[in-house]
Amino acid sequence: MTWILFAALVQPQSVCVTCHPAERVQLEASVHSREGIGCESCHGGVPESLDEERAHSGDYRGVPSREDIPALCASCHADPTAMRPYNLPIDQFALYQISGHGRKLAEGDDRVAVCTDCHGAHEVRSASNPESPIFRVNVPETCGHCHADAELMADYRLSADVLDEYRGSVHGEALLEDANPNAPNCARCHGVHGASPPGFGDVAKVCGQCHGSAREYFERSVHKEAMDAAGLPECASCHGNHAIGPAGTELAEGVCLECHESGSPPAETGRRLLALQSATVHEIERAGELIEEAERIPLDVGDYRARLELARTHLQEAYPVMHSLDVEQVTPLTLSARSGAEDVQREIYEKLSDIRLRRLGLVLFWFYILLTVAILVRLRRQKKET
């Protein structure tokens, strides 16, 4: 069996790492190293030679320039035969070329993102690796490297607040704090390699991928035509884009009054929708608090949690319907949510009042105790006298 050892010993090897140990560490953490992609695949040269001059000869290209990087990566990643074993897509380069980044690069601006800015150069990791900068949860931070850089963004007249806005948004909190696997990161709306801002007309389509029901009700509402005619972005006009809040916040902040006059019928509709929503939310929250209180005694809370969840579901159903702006359609849903929560509250209050009866019982009990003490004192006196 020694021949195996020997074969391993004499096998021609890349010796680049002898002079570049730091790069070796990075490369060995990457998916490329696992698949046997060596230094020469990107840098060229003669990897078997320890002689610097000979090693850096032939097709040696040193550090590839930023403009060349996408094409260099694409030499493998756009090749169907090469990518087939890994089941990887081959359209990234094509998408990149139509992206905001790609088009700017083609114009000769090399400050835009190229492959290595997001994926890393030597330490390219798989998207499913939590250490990877392109792992779902790490994407906002990765995009933020450039897009939160006020100095860099100023040249493109882009806002550098997007990362902070996203972090505080309902989407950001769901992804970064609640680790909700369905919450969107930057790429979910803007695209991955084809990254660009969704156009005005496309906003509804992008949001509608997840919020399909809301989109349907919206398209049947009077807002649809009016906003298209006015050239307003459909969802973002009311909800904003990166700093999007939880359902209902816009109504409470009086978003209707930005276009409609206070007191006008449309503003009145907004006010009624808000009233329906906030009353329901209040009752549901109160019922939740009461369940907690009852659990601490503890009382039998039976199916209360399940019933409250059902009420929450009805409210959740009401939110998309609100986009129809039809109060008649929204009311039955908020009403069943609200009455569900109120039923739970009523039943808990009944049980709590049973607990309060204990205090009444205590008064009676003390009456009995004092009576017993009086009898004892009396008996003691009598015994003494006899």
């Binding site: 659990e295 601490r296 005694i297 503890p298 009382l299 039998d300 204990r358 205090r359 019982g361 205590l362 009990f365 003390w366 105790i369 017993t372 003490v373 004892l376 004192v377 008996l379 003691r380 015994k383 003494k384």
Partner: protein, 387 residues
């Protein structure tokens, strides 16, 4: 004094007949004598006499002046202990000491068992009051000089009783197996594991350095069997020494000139029992201990705090002397416990009056005041949610 021969005068009918039947086969007076050993009577019983006569004689005797009405902390502790035994047995019918069942069985007791909440809450409050009474008793012993020769054993058994009651409370807390009781035990145990000698011993007692299933069943056995048995033995010992040496010089066995009879004393005890039940039930209704959430091993709650009687050492050791190494803190704590128990041999002042022990009384007063202030400080820290 009706008769010296009850067998003949009453033997014919009813209760008397049954009593005589037993009396002929077992010495019932011995059982009565045992009862007197638990501080409910401080009277010597002649076990050669038949029960009825012995009881009548005992009741008619004058009360020893050391058992006069206000000096009831000892009998009070006994009554509370008995209450804990009775309510504890009732709870044990429903409690199940395994990690998967303990929490649910407590919920069942509190929610579904008729008056289960009342038994559970009074048992919890009874434990607190028992500790409080034993603390008061030690404080009274200190200021009354009730540890000077020949009453060293009285003090030592009193101090050990206090320690046992605290341990019964601590083990009982864990049995509820909720987020708060679990984590407060974990925090306490972590400190104790660093102690020399006691640390490994505790590790042996709780079944390893992790609070888990083994700890729960060990604490359960400690709580329902070993600790109560030890308390029982110590109470017996404690009152045995009271009977021999009395509580004060004036009340030595030769000087028993009390005005009242034991019959009155018993009425007082009965009144006390009724009032104790009243107080416990009131606390259970007005100030019930909440039913805390289930154990969450992934999050330590912030509000975990030691029980009230450990607040003063906690504040002193953790907050004020927080920077000292754990080993030193633990050793200090251990040393103060040993000092408390062996106090009669530490204090070498000449007499037992306040004047003769001026220095010791001053130091003791300061220590007691410090304890009170630190406890209040600890409660204040709790309320503002600081460390």
């Amino acid at each position: 004094m009706m008769s010296d021969k009850p067998e003949q005068t009453r033997g014919a009918h009813g209760r008397g007949a049954l009593l005589d039947w037993f009396e002929a086969r077992v010495n019932l007076t011995e059982f009565f004598a045992l009862l007197t050993s638990l501080g409910l009577f401080y009277v010597e019983v002649d076990t050669k006499k038949p029960l009825r006569l012995a009881v009548r004689e005992a009741l008619a005797k004058p009360v020893s002046s050391y058992a006069e009405w206000p000096r009831v902390l000892g009998p009070l502790a006994v009554l509370f202990f008995l209450f804990q035994v009775v309510s504890g047995v009732l709870l044990a019918f429903y409690y199940r000491a395994s990690p998967s069942e303990a929490y649910e069985s407590i919920r069942f007791i509190l929610r579904d068992v008729n008056f289960g909440w009342l038994i559970h809450q009074t048992h919890r409050w009874g434990g607190q009051l028992l500790v409080a009474i034993l603390i008061l008793r030690i404080v009274r012993f200190f200021f009354g000089g009730v540890y000077k020769k020949p009453r060293e054993l009285l003090w030592i058994s009193g101090a050990l009783l206090l320690l046992l009651a605290m341990h019964a409370d601590l083990t009982g807390r864990l049995l509820t197996w909720n987020q708060i009781s679990y984590w407060s035990t974990v925090r306490g145990a972590e400190l104790i594991f660093t102690l020399p000698l006691i640390g490994p011993l505790l590790g042996f007692l709780v079944g390893g350095q992790e609070i888990g299933a083994a700890t729960l069943s060990r604490f359960y056995i400690l709580h329902i069997l070993i600790l109560p048995a030890a308390v029982f033995v110590l109470l017996y010992f404690n009152f045995a020494t009271v009977r021999r040496v009395g509580l004060t010089e004036a009340a030595s066995p030769t000087n028993v000139g009390g005005r009242r009879q034991y019959r009155d004393y018993l009425y007082n005890l009965a009144t006390l029992v009724v009032l104790i039940v009243g107080v416990l039930v009131s606390l259970a209704v007005i100030q019930p201990v909440p039913f805390y959430p289930e154990i969450d091993l992934l999050s330590t709650p912030v509000e975990v705090q030691p029980p009230w009687y450990l607040l003063a050492p906690h504040v002193l050791v953790d907050v004020l002397l927080g920077r000292l190494p754990d080993l030193l803190k633990g050793t200090l704590f251990l040393a103060s416990v040993v000092l408390l128990v062996l106090w009669p041999f530490v204090d070498r002042s000449p007499g037992k009056t306040m004047r003769e022990r001026a220095t010791v009384v001053t130091i003791g007063t300061l220590a007691f005041l410090l304890w009170v202030v630190l406890t209040i400080y600890g409660v204040a820290l709790q309320n503002i949610g600081a460390p």
